[in-house]
């Protein structure tokens, strides 16, 4: 694969809901085999950005290229094929509550007819173990799990089919610090071992530095800063510094309403 072609390339991506402009011309390149951390205030459009790339939300204008192929102008089959290479952890888990946990995890494998049900069950237990869940969790229903456990099942489901691209929408929110670090390690591992490209949204700066090679900050629908994740705490950009240090005073004014 040519390293000069970014894995994901966004140009001028815009999306508004009604009169509300959520994405206002996003330009972003993500190199193959790297992981990009996206930070930004609540409601700044991070989840919408991922959903646009996944094709769950149609952007108004702009281009989305994966491996140099323009997704929005591809035929349907090609799009579906490209998208089946992306694994996604949704912010709220989005587990199928009518299926047991193991079937959730193995869903992608079964849908692609890559293995029998017995094999899928075994594979699911294996992936569940990787995210620190006991094998008996596999036979429970998602509604019987705690929020953090659901998050880990969501993570297991996203990585089970070993996709080429991984999206994580707040992978460690709601986990205790140790489990958070384990999950971060797992994400790093996936990226390094499988050679996947990852995009992770997070509010946790420690986790951002652990998983990210690069970081970008989204503010009011635009990328206001991007650079190496190690620089996150001292970027020299007043907006990013205010955000990463969690200061009340600064260029970003929170709109608080009573």
């Amino acid at each position: 694969m040519n390293d000069a072609i970014p894995k994901i390339r966004l140009r001028g991506l815009c999306k508004s809901f009604g009169t509300k402009l959520v994405l206002d011309g996003i330009d972003l390149d993500i190199a193959p085999g790297t992981s990009m951390v996206v930070i930004g205030g609540s409601g700044s459009g991070k989840s919408v950005l991922l959903k646009c790339i996944l094709g769950l939300i149609e952007p108004d204008t702009g281009t989305i290229e994966i491996d140099g192929v323009d997704l929005l102008h591809q035929d349907r089959r090609g799009r579906d094929e490209t998208r089946s290479r992306i694994g996604m952890l949704f912010q709220n888990g989005a587990l199928f509550d009518s299926l047991p946990v193991w079937e959730n995890v193995a869903f992608g494998l079964l849908a692609q007819n890559r293995c029998t049900r017995a094999e899928a069950h075994a594979k699911a237990s294996e992936v569940l173990a990787q995210v620190g869940l006991a094998p008996n969790v596999g036979d429970m229903s998602p509604s019987e799990l705690s929020g953090g456990m659901q998050k880990r099942v969501g993570l297991a489901r996203a990585i089970a089919a070993q996709p080429d691209i991984l999206f994580f929408d707040e992978p460690t929110t709601g986990l205790d610090p140790i489990m958070g670090a384990v999950i971060d390690g797992l994400i790093v591992d996936c990226v390094k071992r499988l050679g996947s490209t990852a995009v992770a949204i997070t509010h946790d700066m420690a986790s951002a530095r652990r998983i990210g090679d690069r970081a970008a900050m989204l503010f009011k629908g635009r990328i206001v800063w991007q650079g190496p994740a190690t620089d996150l705490m001292h970027t020299g950009n007043p907006m990013v510094d205010q955000f990463t240090h969690g200061e009340r005073e600064g260029p970003i004014q929170m709109e608080l309403r009573k």
Binding site: G87, N92, G108
Partner: protein, 261 residues
């Protein structure tokens, strides 16, 4: 002048909105039905929907049918005995049940039970991103969620109506023989004399259409619900109301088609 323009604009917008909604529903239906006949097929989902619609609706449909048959026998006997046409009771019961009341009442009961459940389930999946999650896992949600339910409705409703027909006639038979003192052999002979294949078949055809309507409205409303728990609640209500109205409207259209020759 301005008021008039405003009123016209409002009417225009309402009409436009209604056409748009109808168009969307038709497109949704076409897409859903086209997925019924194209692989991959989700047998498990079909089976689940079939059991939910067919098997678990049996008690409700059965009770409705028995009582309807009983009421029909009672009502017609009090109305008809004045003309000493007691034998007409048997024919009236069997014709009303097979042609009209079996399919329509079963349809309405199932709409309340199943239409609501489908809309609530798919609606919850929508607002919790589960439908989005399906498409990221190489699964077309129309194929996985909608098509199996449409097919299950199409097959399960006629089967339910067969049961409803039998029990409706049985209800009438019980009242006629036990309470009204009809001769049971004569009543049965009359019933069998009057019933024709057309009556039963037309009733079952109606049922199949109703089955699709019920599941279609449940899926459509659920699939397009937004705005959390409240949105799902609204979708559930709309699904039941729309399915019930459509059942009665299509009942008229189909009756016209079958019998107005």
């Amino acid at each position: 002048m301005n008021g008039l323009l405003d009123a016209m604009a409002l009417i225009g917008r309402t009409l436009f909105g209604a056409c748009l909604a109808a168009g969307r529903l038709v497109l949704f239906a076409i897409s859903g039905i086209s997925h019924v006949v194209r692989p991959p097929f989700y047998g498990r989902m079909f089976l689940r929907a079939f059991i939910e619609i067919g098997y678990f609706s049996l008690p409700v449909v059965a009770l409705t049918a028995v009582f309807t048959g009983m009421v029909l026998a009672l009502q017609s006997s009090t109305g008809l005995s004045r003309f000493s046409a007691d034998s007409a009771v048997a024919s009236l019961v069997v014709l009303s049940v097979t042609r009209e009341l079996g399919p329509v009442l079963a349809g309405l009961m199932v709409a309340g039970r199943v239409g609501a459940a489908i809309a609530a389930e798919i609606g919850t999946m929508r607002v919790t991103d589960q439908i989005d999650a399906l498409s990221t896992l190489s699964t077309n949600p129309m194929k996985y969620l909608v098509a199996p339910r449409l097919l299950a409705g199409l097959i399960a409703l006629p089967l339910l109506v067969v049961v409803a027909d039998i029990l409706g006639v049985l209800g009438g038979f019980i009242i006629a023989t036990v309470k009204l003192g009809f001769n049971s052999e004569l009543y049965l002979a009359n019933t069998l004399n009057f019933i024709q294949t057309d009556d039963v078949v037309s009733g079952l055809a109606k049922a199949a259409v109703f089955g699709v309507l019920i599941t279609l409205m449940g899926c459509y409303q659920g699939y397009n619900s937004k705005g959390g728990a409240q949105g799902v609640g609204a979708a559930t209500t709309s699904a039941v109301v729309a399915a019930s109205v459509l059942i009665l409207a299509f009942d008229y259209v189909l009756t016209e088609l079958f019998f107005a020759r």
